[in-house]
Each structure stands twice: as structure tokens, then as C-alpha cells.
């Protein structure tokens, strides 16, 4: 396919949103790392200069991705996967430690984070495995292998330690669901999370009462002829209550105090407002500051470079994980809503792109891309605006960081490249 055809068929809406997000992201990095010692935006000694350099690198990567043969990605996905797993393993020997996590290779001019590469490789490998003609996701064995593809990078990343990045791989389960993994699994996971949260918030007794009420509600008004499944119901109830009790036990005896504090803060378990305020200012310091910064922006924001809390460096890690708080402070609700809408439109657009693929590999990879981007977006913004506990992962296209921007770009544009070829069932 000629270059002109690619430009004609590429999904310009996605490309436009990508550039919009990268641009807004850089503006905010500029603002949050800006100092009054003026220098040009091309000064690579500054963080915004460095980020601009990586935007340039990403542009080069986009050109290369679009120029490569479309079946290259499917063909080399296994190799890429193995390579990236090897690079994760290599960290145990050659890794560079920054802020307590051994997650980087020191390449001299910049630090490479192989877990970012692993996200792309895993999404490709999973798509490849699931789209294989011999794979039947209804089979237990194949389900297991599919899950294994996700679990290996996750398990390699957890000991770095970087639980946030490891969590990202579990998002790829959505791809498997899309391809036919029974929703029963999802229901179980969601129920377990619900039981966990309800137990912490209201205790086992209220949970049991709620359970009984739920059963009465479900079966109380049914026709008499219908047999009520007494034995399974009893078993489920017992299981739920046992799980709930074990949650209490684990929370109080296995968790460390800092974990308890995080959950306590998240679910507002501490009822004494003074103590809660204290926890917010110590354990939840970052989130507290970022919430306050966002709040102080109001509807219209304080304006570009006018964010006082941003200028004063009140929000730690503001140019990386907490970049969204800069948007909140300087651009107000208008800015934050714009970013949320841009991301949502991008995701919905990518879903429709994925759904229109004739080729199974492209569709599954598309879902992989969406899952990965979505979980970053959800956890990051959720944390910054204080509705999720603190889990340090970056906001795609936004947060400062070379590896992150480069591999998110690669992740997205491989899919857009596959999409240019959507009319063909095989490559």
C-alpha cells in the first residue's frame, strides 16, 4: 500500500485527538516545571524541553510505524513478546533504581522503562494468541494460556516494585472477555470487590442483612410454582459471609498500617473529621494537595502559568502522575471537562474502529489498546481527583516521561496502522 493510501485511510479523528492530548499535556508540563529563569522551550536542560524532544521522537516513531508492512506486527508479535519479557528479566541484573523502584535501563541520554514496551508487546501477543485459528477461548486450557500471557509480565513487574504498572496488564482481560470468556468470571470479580468494600465500610453484619434482603427481593415475589434453589443459595451466602470475615481478618492482621490508612482514607472509614483531615494531610498528602489545587481552579481556572499551587510546587510529582491537577488549577472545570471528553471520545472511537475490523488480530489488538489506555486514564485521574486510592501510574500522552509517551504512541499507532488495512480479512 502506498503512503498516500495510508494517509487517506488513517482515522484522522483519533490522530487529531492524540495530537490534541499531547499538546495539552505538554502545555501543562511546561506550566508545572516552568521557572522564572526564562529559557527557550527547546532547552533540553528543562523538563519541558526534554518532553518536547520526546514528542519529536514519537513523531519519528509514528512515521516508521505507518511505513512498516502491516503484517509485520502480527508476524513479529511473539518475538517482541519474548524480547520484552527478557528485558524485564534483565532489570533484575542491569536495572537502574530510581525512587526505590528498579524499573529502568540507563541508556545514557535517557532512561528506558521496559515495562512500557511490555504493554505493547503483551497486547500484540495476546491478540496473536487469541486470533489463532486453533485457540478456542471456551476451553479451559486456552483460557489459562491467555491469562498466562498477561500474568508473566505482571509477575515480573511486581517485584521491581511497581504494582501500578503490573495492574495495567490485568486490564487486558477485557480483550478475552470481548472474545468470549464467560462473563461469569467478571461477575465473580466484581462481587468480590463489592464484598470487600462493603465489609470495610459497613461490617459483616450489615453485609449479611443486606444479603438476606437481596434474596428476599429476588425470590420473594416470584411465582409460587418456581422452585427456590435453597441449597445453592445457602452455599453462596455462606461463601459470601466467610469471604467477608476473611476480609476483616486480612485487613486487620495481614495488611500493614499504611495499606489500612490508604483504604481508610479512600473509603472514608475514619469518622472523626479531625483525624480524617490529619490522615488526608499525611498519608493522602499528594492527593490532598492535588484536590485542593483542582478545587482552587474553579470553573474557569486561574489561567496559563497563573496556577499558584502549581508554581509553588505544592503538588508533588505534578508533572508526572499528578499532571491532571495542573489542568484543574489553571484551566478550571472547562479544562478538566475538555480532557475527560477528549479521552472518552477517543476510547469510543477506538471501540468503533476495533469493531469494524474484518481481521480478528486487529480487532483484538484494538481492544488491547483501549484496555491499556483506559485503565491508565481511569486509575490516574481517579487518584488525582481523590476517588481512588493512590496508585502511581501515568496519564497517557499527558504525563512527563519519555518511555511512557513513546510507547503509548507506538501502542496507539500500530492499531491505527492496522486499521488502514481493515478491509482485508488477512494481510
Amino acid at each position: 500500500m502506498s503512503g498516500r493510501n495510508i494517509l487517506k485511510r488513517i482515522d484522522w479523528l483519533s490522530v487529531f485527538i492524540y495530537f490534541a492530548l499531547v499538546f495539552i499535556g505538554w502545555i501543562n508540563i511546561y506550566s508545572s516545571t516552568f521557572t522564572d529563569e526564562h529559557s527557550t522551550i527547546f532547552d533540553f536542560g528543562t523538563l519541558y524541553g526534554k518532553q518536547l524532544f520526546f514528542i519529536g521522537v514519537s513523531l519519528v516513531a509514528i512515521v516508521i510505524i505507518l511505513a512498516l508492512e502491516v503484517n509485520f506486527y502480527e508476524r513479529f508479535s511473539s518475538v517482541l513478546y519474548l524480547l520484552s519479557m527478557a528485558s524485564l528479566l534483565g532489570l533484575f541484573v542491569f536495572g537502574k533504581t530510581i525512587a526505590g523502584a528498579t524499573s529502568w535501563y540507563d541508556l545514557g541520554f535517557f532512561n528506558l522503562q521496559p515495562s512500557e514496551l511490555a504493554k505493547v508487546a503483551t497486547a500484540l501477543a495476546l491478540a496473536k494468541y487469541l486470533s489463532d485459528i486453533q485457540t478456542d477461548i471456551k476451553r479451559r486450557k486456552d483460557q489459562f494460556y491467555a491469562l498466562l500471557i498477561l500474568l508473566i509480565p505482571a509477575l515480573l513487574i511486581i517485584p521491581q516494585p511497581d504494582p501500578g504498572s503490573a495492574l495495567v496488564f490485568f486490564a487486558l482481560i477485557f480483550v478475552i472477555f470481548r472474545e468470549g470468556l464467560p462473563l461469569f468470571y467478571l461477575a465473580i470479580v466484581v462481587s468480590l470487590i463489592l464484598i470487600f468494600v462493603i465489609t470495610l465500610m459497613f461490617g459483616t453484619i450489615w453485609l449479611s442483612i443486606g444479603l438476606v434482603l437481596l434474596i428476599i427481593l429476588l425470590f420473594g415475589f416470584k411465582r409460587k410454582s418456581l422452585k427456590i434453589p435453597v441449597i445453592p443459595l445457602t452455599l453462596i451466602s455462606v461463601a459470601v459471609i466467610l469471604f467477608s470475615l476473611s476480609v476483616n481478618f486480612v485487613f486487620n492482621n495481614v495488611f500493614e498500617q499504611r495499606h489500612r490508612d490508604r483504604f481508610g482514607l479512600w473509603l472514608r472509614l475514619e469518622k472523626d473529621p479531625n483525624k480524617l483531615e490529619q490522615i488526608r494531610k499525611s498519608i493522602g498528602y499528594n492527593t490532598y494537595q492535588s484536590e485542593k489545587a483542582i478545587e482552587s481552579g474553579g470553573f474557569f481556572g486561574k489561567g496559563f502559568l497563573e496556577g499558584t499551587r502549581t508554581k509553588g510546587d505544592f503538588v508533588p510529582e505534578q508533572h508526572t502522575d499528578y499532571i491532571f491537577s495542573t489542568v484543574g488549577e489553571e484551566w478550571g472545570f472547562l479544562g478538566t471537562a475538555t480532557v475527560i471528553i477528549l479521552f472518552s471520545v477517543l476510547f469510543l472511537r477506538l471501540i468503533s474502529l476495533a469493531e469494524r475490523q474484518k481481521n480478528a488480530f486487529a480487532r483484538m489488538y484494538g481492544y488491547g489498546v483501549i484496555s491499556i489506555l483506559l485503565i491508565h486514564y481511569f486509575i490516574n485521574i481517579g487518584m488525582v481527583i481523590g476517588i481512588l486510592p493512590t496508585i502511581g501510574i501515568p496519564l497517557p500522552f499527558f504525563s512527563y516521561g519519555g518511555s511512557g509517551l513513546l510507547f503509548f504512541t507506538i501502542l496507539l499507532f500500530i492499531f491505527l496502522r492496522l486499521d488502514t488495512n481493515r478491509l482485508k480479512e488477512s494481510f
Partner: protein, 624 residues
Amino acid sequence: MRKILLSSIIIVIAITFLGRLSYLQIFSFSTDHVLEDPAIKAVYDYPERGYIYDRNGKLLVGNDPAYDVMVIPREVKPLDTLEFCDLLGIDKEKFIDKLRKARVYSPRLPSVLVPQLSKQDYAKLQEKMRKYKGFYIQKRSLRYYDTPSAANVLGYISEVNEGDLAVNKYYVQGELKGRTGVERYYEDLLRGRKGVQYIQKDRFNRDIGPYKEGAIDTLPEQGKQISITIDKTLQEYGELLMNGKRGGIVALEPSTGEILSMISGPTYDPALLVGRERSKNYTKLYNDTIANPTWDRSIHAQQPPGSPFKTLNALIALQEGVMDESSTIQCFHGFYVGKTKRGCHCGGGMRDMNKGIYMSCNAYFAGTFRKIFEHFDTTDEAMDVWEKHMRSFGLGDYLGYDLPFGQKGRIPNKEYYDKWYGDNRWSSSYIISNSIGQGEILATPVQLANMTAAIANRGHYFTPHILKKIEGKDITEPKFTEAKHTTIDPKYFEPVVQGMADVYRKKGGTAYWLQIPDIEIAGKTGTAENFTKIDGVRTQLTDHSVFVAFAPVDNPKIAIAVYIENGYFGSRYAGHIATLMIEKYLKGEITRKDLEKRMLEKTLEAEYAKPYSGEEFKINERVW
């Protein structure tokens, strides 16, 4: 189902995020965030507090520079502690302790090490200061009082507390605010407006430049110079006379309502509440709950007014046409209520209004009171009319002067007695004490002075006030410059005024021997019974000595009320003080040195000590 699962999740997340963001940015957002923003420091430029002058332009309150020794702990270098402590005039332990506290507060920010050095200490220290790194001297301004008097009127300033901060957003921690008197009432004028400079800070609290290039900074606005209506000479003289006595003196200019002097005894030197000894002195004054020097009796002490109140009953009788000035009532060295006899000091005989007033005949006014009530069909109706007239003299309610509210006194109404005795179960005989200013009636000295001014003006008064000029310009506030008219027709005042003049003029007048040469003066004595509990037993104390007067009789320049607690006869302490004050104000000179000497020397301390002595209380002892 599977296809829309992910789309639904995306939409739910978006709605959740937008909901949370609108909660944070739209509903929790407050506009006055500049001062709450930890990233912005406001640096204040305080204008000098306005000076206060008396009515003749004499300085009462100014400002004095004071010097605080400040320290920034981080910048302190090793020093000769002994020499430095010697210069500062504190001991070494205290110095080390203060330095430690400052470091705990903040190593980077300045703390006060030694507050308010005297000028002498400052002079000694100044030249050597550069030797001590990390210490510097900060000049600030303290109130300076050019008079030892008028503490109750001027009030004092002190640091704002939590309550002030919650009520008024203008103030920030550590600022000063007027607490009582003029300093409080005219706080906004005197204070001016501080200038603000906003500084952008980083999270280590370091300055990193002006916020918004100084676009929202403001310049300070000077405090206003004000003149108050007090006559400094008269005020100081009155406080000398008040020596060793408890009570209040209020002198007004009847033609304007200006407060010439407002004295509360015992009082204190306003300079006590300034400087390093402030809190020690304040505690001492505040804890004196018996003499209560911080309690301004001139506006707060509500007491039975006694006989001066008779003049108002006379006016009501004339207005309602129940009597004229020649109507007579027989005094039997007292009068009868049912079968009980109530006494009278006037000597007995037929009394008309003139004699009734200048001899202060209880029987005459009891009769007058009865006649007022008999004039109406029902007691309720009579009570309403009587109350309306009384209130028109500014009694029984807040007067509305530009000082702390004070107390409203009490003019009882029919509801009051209905509650006390039951509906329709009382009559004028039950409340006959009101005729002579006893019973349920209460008034503060300033109310009595105002009542006297209304009589002096023959039927109207101006709300008493303390502010005369702002920056040299007379006040124009209608509340103070428009006359309030009483419900008594001006033509009925003359007989009452003549009766009051005869108090001085006629032999047998209760203040005959207190008249001032060359000045026609009108007044009325009062001797008010009062009670307290000693060891749980209701005991009658020595009578309060009360006097109201105005002078000259025609075209009055001063109206005065003097209330001396437990001073016995009205003509005794209160009468002396009233006549001396009037002479001082009108002539500037005292001709009757013997009277003056007596007042300056005689005190009532022994009388005040009696209820606490543990001995049996002896009432109305003859002291002189």
C-alpha cells in the same frame, strides 16, 4: 452485550469524573481563595492608627514607637550570649528558652524575641545590633495616652481573637483591634486600611516573587484623626473628684447631646493596658470583681434613680391635666399606703409643685402619682400613658449612643406587673414607689444625664454621642444632629425648671448651700435606697447619693448626672461633685476651695469595705 460493555464503562467513568470535578471545582469552589491559598503570602503594610483629640483639640491618644527584637533562628550565628542578654535586659535561661521556642515555631520565619523595648534599651542596643546575626529590630506603633483619664471612654486595643477572625474577614492573626469605647466603636475610622502585597511562595514557604506582578496589591489608607466630645480638663477633674468613690458621672451639652465627660469610678490609667506590662495589669484589673474598675458604670450601672425622677412625674401630671402647679397635697411627714406610713424628710405641711420639688417631698409625689392613675378609667390605660411619657425621655431602652450599648435601664409596664401580681390584681398603690424613683425603676447615669438635658431643653434632647469631628469636619449624622421630642408640651417645663432652680435658690432647698456664685443652676437631689445580700441575708445598704443638674437655667450649657454608690444624701457626695463640675466647666476655676478639698480627700472606701468586714452592717452612718 459484550460489545457495549466497554462503551458503557467508558461513559460511566466519564460521568463519575465529571461529577466529581464539578463537585470540586463548581460547588466547593470559593472565590476568596487568595488568602486561603498556601501558595500566596500576604504582606501587610499597616497605616498609623488615627489620633484622638478632645473637643478643644487637645491630644488624648496618639502613637508611640516601640521596638521588638526579632530573630530568624536559621540565621543566628554563635554569639556572646552574656553580653547580648545584658543588652536586652533578660537572663540567659529566658533567652535560650525563647530562642528554642522561635526555632520550634519556624527556623525560617521571624519570631519576636523581646517585645516592646523601651527607648533607652533601644538606644543602647541599636549600635551593637549588627554584631548579632539573625537578630534585628522591628519598629511598631503602640498607643500613647496623653491623659491618665477617660480609660472607659477611650477603650483599649488588643490582639484579635478567634471570634473576631470568624466574624470579620478583614483581620488576620496578630492584628490589633479596638476593644471598648471609642477605639472599638470607631475602629474602622481609626484603623484605616492596611495595604496588602501578595507574594508567591513555594512549598518551603520561600518567596519566589510578587503574585500576578502586583496587580491586585493595595496601598494602605491612613487612619483618620478624630475629635471626641469629651472635655479633657473636665474629664480629668471629674476623675480626681471621683477618687475613692464608686459610681458614674455623665455631663452633656444639652444643645447638642455631646458628652462632655463620662466618668466611671473606680477607673484606671489607660496607659496600664499598653506595653510589656499589659497582660499583668489587665489580669489585675479584670480580677478585681468587687470594685470592678473595667466596668463602665456610667453606661452599665442601672440603679434606682431616686428623687430626680419626681420631676418627670410632675411633668406627666401637668401634661395629662390632672394637676396644675398650684394644686396642693398635704404631707404628714410622710404619706399613707393603706394603713402603712411611708416617711418623708421634707418637714411636713401643704405642698404645691414648687415646694414639692425643691424640698423633695415624697408625699406630694405619691399623691401626684395617684392622681395620674385616678384620671384614667383603668389602671392599664393609665400605666400605658405613664410608660409612654417616661420612655420619651430615653429611659427604659438603649439610648443609641456611639459607645458600647450599656444597659437599657427599666421602665416597668403593665405586662411587668401583670406577671408580678396577676392580671388586674394591682393598682397605683402597689407601685407607689415609682412616684419617687424607687421601686422597679432603673436607669444608668447617662440616661439620667440625658433626662436632665431634655428638661434643660424644655422638651427635647439630642442622642448623646461621643464623636465630634472626623479629620476636622463636624459630624452630620442625623441620628445625632436631629432633636428627639418628648411627649410633654414645652410649656409645662417652666414650673418644673423653676422648682429645680429653687433647690439651690431657696432656703430649705435640698442643695441650697451648694449654689455657685454668679451662676443660676437647677438641680434635683436623690437618695436611693438599695439592697444587697450579706451572707445570704437581704440587707439594706447605705443609700446611693444621686444628683442631676443643669446650668445656666436659661440657655443651659451643661447637664449633669452624678451617681455615687452608698454616698448617703443626694446633696452630700453627688451634690458636691455636680456643683464643682459645673463650676469647673463654666468658669474654668473653682472658687469654693473648701468644697473641692473635701471632695478630693473624702473617700467611701470604708463604706464599701463594710459588707465584707464580717461585722454587722450599720446603715447610713454619719461620716461627716
